[in-house]
């Protein structure tokens, strides 16, 4: 864990990360936000084909949870995974190209919004199946342990997945085998329309950790520093061979579940309240309070993010469409193609 300043009165993130890393984190949060706003705009203009699941409002969780990871470390992601991609260093242009269904996209137009991934950066993929990535993350951690790579896997999942059998099977096996995996639950209060109160027997999902004999903590998922503090500790524990942990980031998605959501299950007041707790200005304020950036720096970072997104959309628009006669390409690995 990067660490420089020892003053324990300072927030964790300020102590743990260099100004460069923190500025980069703020930029990534902007990139996630702008990427999703750009995607939403493209969708509304009919330029994008499928639906999408936006994580606007959850940027502190996705970027904060990936701060301690190297390219060797792995993540598994969810259907609401754009932020995780950016956190793991994905190229925004290739993300947008994938959104536009282009051959130049991360999945060469085969995956779309729900499967953007960059295995070369340790991102094993977003998943369209709720809970689909949980056992896979455990498998990646098993590989790291057997092969002695020292890599840690961060497994993102939502509150909905905590009621899938795969969640329980995965946590149990990770604990039994003491594997280097961190389960990060992004609890945004609703599995589609069903609230955690109506679906989950425990108050905090982190309490489930007790059943699998691993630490479980619940933090404010919109507080970048709180997220990094909890996840970084879990990553370190995993790296030290002490086994898995569960971190629950309490957060909120401003948008509906997907583009078909009409927001009938939550009130305008609730949405407004959470929009008032926007993690990005909070992060900017944290950095300004500690003289890491000025207000002008923040504006410049936002402008830079806007430019990257505009360039990415331009790149995506120019991309080649996949060839229709290659629809079955990539089903099998070529030398063994069926």
């Amino acid at each position: 864990m990067p660490d420089t300043i020892q003053d324990t009165n300072l927030p964790y993130a300020i102590r743990a990360y260099s100004p460069e890393r923190l500025r980069e984190a703020l930029k990534k949060m902007y990139l996630v936000r702008k990427f999703e706003e750009g995607a939403e705009d493209s969708y509304m203009r009919g330029l994008i084909h499928g639906t999408m699941h936006l994580s606007i409002g959850q940027e502190a969780s996705s970027i904060g949870s990936t701060m301690a990871l190297t390219d060797e470390d792995k993540i598994t992601s969810t259907h609401r995974g754009h932020g995780h991609c950016v956190g793991k260093g994905a190229d925004l242009s290739k993300m947008f190209a994938e959104f536009f269904g282009k051959e130049s996209g991360y999945c060469r137009g085969r995956g779309g919004s729900m499967h953007i991934a960059d295995p070369s950066k340790g991102n094993l993929g977003a998943n369209g199946i709720v809970g689909g990535g949980l056992p896979i993350a455990v498998g990646a951690a098993l590989s790291a342990k057997r092969l002695g790579t020292g890599a840690v896997t961060v497994c993102f999942f939502g509150d909905g997945a905590n009621n899938e059998g795969a969640f329980h099977e995965a946590l149990n096996m990770a604990a039994v085998w003491k594997l280097p995996v961190v389960f990060v639950c992004e609890n945004n209060k609703y599995g589609m329309s069903t609230s955690t109160e109506r679906s989950t027997a425990v108050k905090n999902i982190a309490e489930r950790a007790a059943a699998y004999n691993m630490p479980g903590v619940t933090v404010d998922g919109n507080d970048f520093s709180a997220v990094t503090e909890a996840v970084d500790a879990a990553v370190e524990r995993a790296r030290n061979g002490e086994g898995p942990s569960l971190v629950e980031n309490l957060t909120y998605r401003w948008r509906g579940h997907s583009k078909s959501d009409r927001n009938r299950y939550r009130t305008k007041e609730e949405i407004n309240e959470w929009m008032g707790r926007d993690p990005i200005p909070a992060m900017a304020k944290l950095l300004m309070d500690h003289q890491i950036v000025t207000e002008d720096d923040v504006a410049a970072i936002e402008a830079e993010a806007n430019q990257i997104i505009a360039d990415a959309i331009e790149f995506a628009t120019q991309g080649e469409d996949p060839k229709m006669d290659e629809v079955t390409r990539d089903v099998y690995t070529p030398e063994s193609a069926a």
Partner: protein, 439 residues
């Protein structure tokens, strides 16, 4: 620059939406994120928030249907000059609208799109040239393949498979039979009425058709479509087609059998068409049943002179396989390419019954002894008064076309250059037209 307010896509399959109501009046201001207008799609209604803070202008009328991604209004900043509407509202089905529904495009009564090629009507499937693949015959794929390759008509084959299904075995046995015919059986005479087949449909005076020697009713197929407006009645000569193999001792006996069949039809009136030997029979029939005959059309008729190509008749009768039949069949036509190997195989198949061949050989011997026509109908041609015409190919190698020149002046002559003994096959279109004009 004013901010464009667009019709958002809110459903995966949404192409356009309707502006139901505006939450503010034109000229009023709205904060970004406040509800600005309601839309309705096929599925549901929903509220759309303002994309920016500003003053509403150029709002689409309530009820307007706007394609997704197209402007429904513009938001102007405080103090910004409001001029002309920056762009007209896009219409659903306008420039960018998708092509008309296929159902409309295909509907018969809709006018074709300007500049678009009219959809060519599909050509009707030509009828299959041979009956081998006729529908309704139970045969295995392998049997069908073999039959197709060998030019065998499945309909003619007995099927030994379950419920009479023709199997590859049956085709092979049949082909074996063609290759090694049983020794020419002594002719076993049969008895019974002549076989008659009728076309479907047609009105008015029927047409009675009598085929030539060594042929059968299928020889009329090429011209039937031209005259199918009349009921067509085909008589198979004795020992031909599906008629019984009667013993025919002379021409009179032949005419007697055909006349019995004709009388059996109990027609008030009929047009008679005959080819070659059938022409002679038709002429003889007309001579004795003149009141019932509306017209007489003779195609390369026999009976108008002594000469006949006896060698060809004999060769046809004796051939037991397609390879030996083919050359004789080719002598029937001027353009030999009309007689393909497949045609010869089909013809041979129709002659696969040794008893049929023996019956025809016996008849040839009775009617054309020593290669001479042993009957003479020139007097009959002089007698009949029904409208009559003779059609003949000037390259006929079986019966000399010059026999036609003996016809009296009231008989019309149609003589074709470069046509052999089978005008109804060789120039079917011409023959069809001539016949149709008379029917």
């Amino acid at each position: 620059m004013p901010v464009e307010v667009i019709m958002p896509k809110v459903d995966m399959d949404m192409a356009s939406g309707k502006v139901m109501s505006w939450h503010i009046e034109i000229g009023q201001s709205v904060e970004k994120g406040e509800p600005l207008f309601d839309i309705e799609t096929d599925k549901a209604a929903m509220e759309v928030e303002a994309p920016a803070t500003g003053i509403l202008h150029h709002a689409a009328p309530e009820g307007a249907e706007i394609p997704i991604g197209k402007a429904v209004a513009w938001l102007y900043a405080e103090g910004e000059e409001v001029g002309e509407q920056p762009a007209p509202f896009a219409a659903v089905g306008g420039d960018a609208a998708p092509a008309p529904e296929p159902a409309e495009a295909l509907s018969d009564d809709s006018a074709p799109e300007p500049g678009s090629e009219p959809e060519p009507r599909p050509e009707p499937e030509p009828e299959l040239a041979y009956a081998g693949d006729a529908e309704g015959i139970r045969a295995t794929p392998a049997a069908r393949r073999l039959a197709r390759e060998e030019g065998v008509a499945l309909a003619e084959l007995p099927g030994t498979g379950p419920r009479g299904r023709v199997q590859a075995f049956d085709v092979r046995e049949y082909l074996k039979g063609l290759a090694t015919p049983s020794a020419p059986a002594t002719f076993r005479p049969e008895t019974g009425p002549l076989h008659i087949s009728r076309s479907k449909g047609g009105t008015g005076t029927p047409v009675v058709m009598i085929h030539g020697f060594a042929s059968d009713a299928t020889s009329w197929a090429p011209i039937e479509s031209a005259i199918k407006h009349r009921p067509l009645i085909r008589i198979d000569l004795p020992g031909h087609g599906k008629s019984p193999k009667l013993r025919i001792r002379d021409f009179a006996a032949l005419v007697k059998e055909v006349r019995a069949a004709f009388d059996g039809l109990q027609l008030d009136q009929a047009h008679l068409v005959g080819h070659s030997l059938g022409g002679a029979v038709a002429l003889a029939l007309a001579d004795t049943r003149e009141r019932k005959v509306s017209s007489l059309s003779l195609i390369a008729p026999a009976g108008l002179g002594p000469q006949v190509n006896g060698e060809a008749l004999n060769g046809i009768c004796k051939a037991t396989r397609a390879e030996s039949l083919g050359p004789w069949l080719r002598s029937l036509v001027a353009d030999e390419s009309l007689i393909t190997d497949g045609y010869a195989r089909l013809a041979m198949q129709a002659r696969s019954d040794a008893n049929l061949r023996a019956a025809q050989l016996a008849m040839a011997d009775a009617l054309f002894p020593d290669g001479v026509q042993a009957f003479d109908l020139r007097a009959a041609l002089g007698r009949i008064e029904v409208p009559a015409r003779i059609l003949w190919g000037k390259s006929d190698a079986i019966l000399p076309w010059s026999h036609a020149l003996q016809a009296p002046g009231r008989v019309a002559l149609h003589l074709f250059d470069g046509v052999g003994h089978m005008p109804q096959l060789e120039v079917a279109g011409e023959v069809g037209k001539i016949l149709r004009a008379q029917l």
